[in-house]
């Protein structure tokens, strides 16, 4: 019952440029990629296709709005458009930063009610997808260690490879992962693949950005990505149907009332 900044960006946004790339540390690489692709607001319409191991699929479409506060923390609202019976079900998320839990609310139109939801857990899955809530949060650099390991080539692209390991006691306890390995394209500082390992170092999930586009300046966004649970053989595919990075959003659009009455 938590939501996310941009479900398509994998791990997200940032501006700034990098120099002396070859000497970059893991943390610098991730910091660079985060800052380079960050924008103050965005609106996206995304189709989710959930495929189980028998090939059965479920489809959903949702729209999300993200707004960066002055503190740098985001407020994000997500609403379902389709199927019809879940239309307008919405989730509002206020990022709290550092080790603090986010504030979250759920809106159920059938009950005409907004309900605050407890958001301590990170391992829980988002609405039946293979994404856990922690996959959807923006990368929190204060609670992880970033170890650069040998570079690799993914789909013909030269990549930095960074091993991301929880560093604080709280994160170690709450995270479902023992580590993640992120593959970051050297040319655009964009994560195109992430491998997730459990606390016994078993590879459990893989996220692959299948296609991406340059949306503005140095800023890139995924247009199609897929995350696969290796043991359950289930995949969630996210396909961006539309994206608006220009229309201004205001903070008052991210309130409980807005969640209930719509944008």
């Amino acid at each position: 019952m938590k939501t996310f900044i941009s479900i398509t960006a994998g791990v997200l946004m940032l501006i700034s440029t990098a120099s002396g790339a070859e000497e970059l540390t893991g943390r610098e690489i991730v910091d660079t990629q985060k800052k380079r692709h960050e924008l103050p607001f965005q609106t996206e319409t995304v189709q989710m296709v959930l495929t189980d191991k028998k090939g059965r699929t479920r489809e959903r479409t949702m729209q999300s709005w993200a707004y960066r506060q002055e503190s740098g923390l985001y407020k994000v609202m997500t609403k379902f458009l389709d199927p019809a019976d879940v239309r307008d079900v919405g989730v509002l998320n206020w990022e709290q930063g550092d080790d603090a839990d986010d504030d979250q609310w759920l809106y159920m139109p059938s009950a005409q009610k907004v309900k605050r939801i407890v958001s301590g857990a990170k391992k829980g899955k988002f609405m039946g997808t293979e994404l856990s809530y922690e996959d959807l949060r923006s990368e929190n650099l204060t609670v992880h260690d970033y170890n650069r390991i040998d570079d690799a080539t993914v789909d013909g692209h030269e990549c930095y490879v960074v091993e991301i390991v929880p560093s604080t006691a709280k994160e170690k306890k709450e995270s479902g992962y023992g580590k993640r390995i992120a593959y970051i394209r050297k040319d655009i500082f964009f994560i195109i693949k992430t491998e997730y390992f459990d606390k016994k170092d078993k590879h459990i999930k893989t996220l692959i950005i299948e296609s991406l586009e340059n949306v503005k300046g140095d800023v890139w966004r995924a247009t199609r990505s897929a995350i696969t649970d290796l043991s359950k053989e289930r995949t969630t595919t996210l396909i961006v149907q539309s994206r608006d990075l220009d229309t201004s959003l205001t903070e008052d659009m991210f309130t409980k009332r807005a969640l209930q009455i719509g944008q």
């Binding site: 019976d85 009950a111 043991s231």
Partner: protein, 925 residues
């Protein structure tokens, strides 16, 4: 059979050559404790497979942790998490490949909660991480004890026990040791945890129970039973043989034939891909025990023959001739009895039936090859010059005869009473295929199952599947009235079983907690939209196990401790009634699960049992009817054999012994063995009838001759099977009791009821019909047999009494009044007038010739002497024989009497003519 006698070396060599192959295959036999062979591959099984495909495998292993001071202690919760994690990632090696075992692990460490906490909805994991402080432990405890989706299933109501429910993947193809491997691997995990807690000074009870445990314990029990009981039953039988025959050879022979037959049978099973399972584990004992009866009959006859002839080779030759037919028949009928189990739809019983039939036929072959050969090599039996049967046995035989023949009404009344009691018992027989019923009450499996059901919920489960496809709308389960019906069904099931969970429960709990825990909101919402929206919040592994994503199929998962297929059948009937009451049209509800399939297997097993028995009875009636050329003989033979079967079912009914795959074969075994005694009795009686026309005398001799072999074989069988009473597997124990009982009732019925019945018919054998050669020219000339077919003539002739004459014996004396006619079967005789028997006769009679028929019809005095010219075997046909022909073969009788009338008519005419001639002469005078 005589081939074996003439070529002992060749016959024995052929066996010796085959032996290494047999030993090799026998050693390859696979032991299988799974009960999959019980489940019938039909549409219900296919449905079950489709349900497990949709909702995930339902093979459940429950790991229970119990601590008297409660389970909510930091280290215990750590153990729950350790175990959950270790089992979830558990892999075993099959075919050199790692194989992940668990499909889903549900425990306090993995389950989600749905709770309103200070106005906020919390749907996170109950234990998102290991509680690090006492406060966190208390919070988990408070959350868990508030959650009705957890209580009773994963947590005992007194909070002292918790379960880790592990759902297992189906084993990969050919992984025979899967259950053992999984059980052992989980045990290792548990042992490590036990040790860890032990080091911390925490004494916790940790148990593992579930199908794989049950199956592997069962496999161990089967193995133990085979290793321990087969040699014991062999020893017991050999001891009885030693006691009965007081000769080492009588021990050595059955040991060799029995062991070889067991090896051969195991080799056959291995070759056919059959396994040693809960049913077939009794096969080695069965073959040893039943197989030795043939040896007993052969050895008993060998001793008799040796006593009579004093020559070993002749005794062996005669033994083969005399017993050949009987043991062939008994082997055939017993094997056929087992083969009828092929009709049972349960594969395990089919394989058992075929293997037993093969084993017994093989035993027959091995017996007829080895017994004469071994007897040849063995020293002649030592017996005092004129050794007689034990006087005790003679007295017993006389008493039995007296009772069976002279107290027929009393025997009839007692029999009828016993039959009535047994029939009433039969109506009470319960059918059962429940695996747990294979264990004794104090077995660790039962103890663990009880611990589990006392603390949490029973270890058994089934699913009630609600399908809405018939309603013609998509996502039917999102309709409030349908989800309401799922809820009502769930509530109904909750009144009858330990733990019930359905999608409706999740929806109701979510609805309540979304509304700040308002008890009024604990219901299915009124709109389908609200249901959809709640369901979207609940999506995940847990929900996938009870609601199919398309919302057309929901599973109501039920945990219970109902043991016994018949009880389960009662429950299923009640559930179906509730479904009729609760569910609207278009909603299709089906109950499925392994226990339901076993239950169905039990029903079909019962039907299969009736079919098998009916077929066995029909086959036996046909065989005996053909053999003794009389349907009456066939029907009579079945009466004493039906009684052991009735007694078997009667006792099962009155003593609550269920009909399960273990006890199911007893009835056919009882029939197969009882019919052996009847056949031995009938063959003996038939032989005795040849040497005396007095039926009662023949029966007296029959009982005397058969008492020892019938008694000793029955005792050997009874005692041999009774060893199974010490088995570990309950079905084998019941099998032991029931077969003992069946042997005893077969013995009593054959010695006390069969004689009375047999006296009411006169036996001829189709064997003789074929063997009998008559002089067709002589028959054609005989007016008695005018217009009769050869087979009809044979029937008349075979109603006679066999008489033997030595060279020079007078068969008919001229001038005597006797009225029999004769047929020469062996040897020659000559006809003489006026006592000139020393000279060449006026005619020589040979094999097939008939003589004396005129006096037989007319009653006039004999006109010549008939004298035996070497050893003559002749059939004597008298008035009694004629009556028999009339009763048994009315058509033949009619022809015979017509011919007799014609002969008498001709005779009258001749007399009249003679009288007329005399009158004319007088007139002339």
């Amino acid at each position: 059979m005589l081939f074996v006698f003439r070529r002992p070396v060749l016959s024995t060599l052929s066996l010796v050559i085959l032996l290494p192959f047999a030993v090799f295959h026998a050693s390859q036999i696979v032991q299988d404790a799974s009960v999959d062979g019980l489940i019938i591959q039909d549409e219900d099984k296919a449905y079950y497979d489709s349900v497990t495909e949709t909702f995930g495998d339902d093979t459940l292993v429950v790991i229970m942790l119990k601590h008297p001071e409660g389970i909510f202690q930091q280290e215990l919760l750590r153990s729950v998490k350790h175990i959950s994690d270790s089992v979830d990632s558990l892999e075993i090696t099959t075919h050199d490949e790692p194989f992940a075992v668990a499909t889903h692990v549900a425990s306090l460490a993995t389950v989600n909660k749905i709770l309103d906490k200070d106005g906020a909805l919390d749907t996170d994991k109950l234990m998102d991480y290991l509680p690090g402080s006492e406060d966190e432990v208390l919070e988990v405890k408070a959350d868990a004890s508030r959650s009705q989706l957890i209580l009773g299933n994963l947590l005992s109501h007194d909070l002292s026990a918790t379960a880790i429910n592990v759902y297992l993947r189906a084993p990969p193809e050919g992984a025979a040791n899967y259950n053992r491997q999984v059980t052992a691997a989980i045990d290792t995990i548990l042992e490590a945890e036990r040790n860890r807690l032990g080091d911390l000074g925490i004494d916790v009870e940790i148990i593992q129970i579930g199908m794989p445990v049950i199956k592997s314990v069962l496999a161990d029990s089967i193995q133990r039973d085979i290793i321990l009981l087969v040699p014991i039953s062999l020893l017991v039988i050999l001891a009885i043989l030693l006691f009965s025959f007081r000769s080492p050879i009588a021990v050595v022979i059955p040991f060799i034939t029995g062991s070889l037959s067991v090896v051969g049978c195991l080799a056959f099973m291995s070759f056919m891909g059959y396994t040693i399972n809960v049913v077939s584990n009794i096969l080695p004992t069965l073959i040893l025990v039943i197989g030795c009866t043939e040896d007993i009959h052969l050895l008993a006859d060998y001793r008799n023959q040796y006593r009579k002839r004093g020559d070993k080779l002749t005794a062996i030759h005669n033994m083969m001739l005399k017993c050949g037919l009987a043991i062939f028949l008994t082997s055939m009928t017993t094997a056929l009895g087992f083969a009828t189990l092929k009709l049972n739809p349960i594969r395990m019983l089919q394989e058992f039936g075929i293997s037993a039939a093969f084993g017994l036929l093989l035993n027959y072959v091995i017996t007829i090859i080895l017994v004469p050969t071994l007897l040849r090599c063995a020293p002649a039996p030592k017996m005092a010059g004129n050794e007689r049967q034990s006087p005790l046995l003679d007295t017993l035989a006389d008493k039995l005869f007296h009772l069976a023949v002279n107290h027929r009404p009393a025997v009839f009344i007692v029999t009828t009473a016993v039959v009535c009691v047994c029939v009433l018992g039969c109506l009470r027989v319960k059918v059962d295929a429940d695996l747990v019923s294979f264990f004794k009450e104090d077995n660790q499996v039962r103890v663990k199952m009880r611990q589990l059901e006392q603390n949490l919920s029973g270890g058994q489960s089934f699913q009630v599947i609600v399908n809405t496809e018939g309603m013609g709308i998509e996502e039917g389960l999102k309709q409030p009235e349908i989800m309401q019906c799922v809820d009502e069904l769930g509530e109904y099931l909750r009144t009858r079983f330990d733990f019930v969970i359905s999608p409706a429960d999740y929806i109701k709990v979510f609805h309540r907690e979304f509304n700040e825990g308002d008890p009024e909101a604990y219901r299915i919402p009124d709109s389908s939209m609200e249901i959809s929206q709640i369901l979207m919040q609940l999506e995940g592994d847990e929900m996938d196990r009870i609601l199919e994503p398309g919302c057309q199929n929901a599973s109501i998962f039920v945990r219970h401790h109902v043991y016994g297929s018949w009880q389960m059948a009662d429950e299923t009937a009640k559930i179906n009634e509730a479904v009729q009451r609760i569910c609207p049209d278009g909603v299709n509800v089906k109950i499925t699960g392994e226990s339901i399939l076993f239950n169905k297997a039990a029903d079909t097993m019962a039907i299969g049992q009736v079919t098998s028995l009916a077929l066995a009875v029909v086959i036996i009636v046909i065989i005996i009817s053909i053999l003794f050329v009389s349907p009456k003989a066939g029907l009579l033979a079945i009466v004493p054999n039906a009684i052991p079967i009735l007694v078997n079912f009667g006792v099962m009914g009155w003593f609550n012994i269920p009909l399960n795959p273990g006890t199911c074969p007893v009835a056919v075994i009882a029939l197969g063995i009882a019919i052996d005694d009847t056949i031995h009795l009938m063959v003996q009686f038939y032989k005795e009838l040849k040497s005396t026309s007095d039926q009662e005398e023949a029966m007296r001799r029959t009982i005397k001759a058969q008492l020892l072999p019938v008694l000793s074989s029955s005792v050997a069988l009874g005692v041999g099977f009774s060893v199974l009473i010490f088995a570990d597997v309950v079905s084998s124990i019941n099998f032991g009791y029931l077969t003992c009982l069946a042997m005893a009732s077969a013995l009593i019925s054959d010695l006390m009821i069969a004689p009375g019945l047999l006296l009411s018919t006169r036996l001829i054998s189709s064997w003789d019909l074929i063997k009998l050669q008559i002089n067709e020219a002589a028959v054609a000339k005989s007016a008695l047999f005018r217009d009769m077919k050869v087979s009809e003539v044979k029937k008349v002739i075979l109603m006679g009494v066999l008489q033997e004459y030595s060279d020079g014996d007078i068969i008919i004396k001229q001038g005597s009044d006797c009225r029999e006619m004769y047929l020469i079967l062996e040897g020659r005789a000559s006809v003489h007038f006026d006592g000139n028997v020393g000279q060449d006769g006026i005619k020589t009679l040979q094999k097939g010739d008939i003589f004396g028929e005129l006096a037989f019809i007319t009653g006039e005095k004999r006109s010549a002497d008939v004298v035996a010219r070497d050893r003559v075997e002749a059939l004597r046909i008298d008035d009694g024989s004629l009556k028999n022909v009339r009763n048994r073969f009315p058509k033949v009788g009619a022809k015979l009497f017509y011919n007799i009338s014609a002969i008498l008519g001709e005779r009258l005419q001749q007399t009249t003519e003679a009288w007329k001639t005399q009158s004319v002469y007088l007139d002339v005078e």
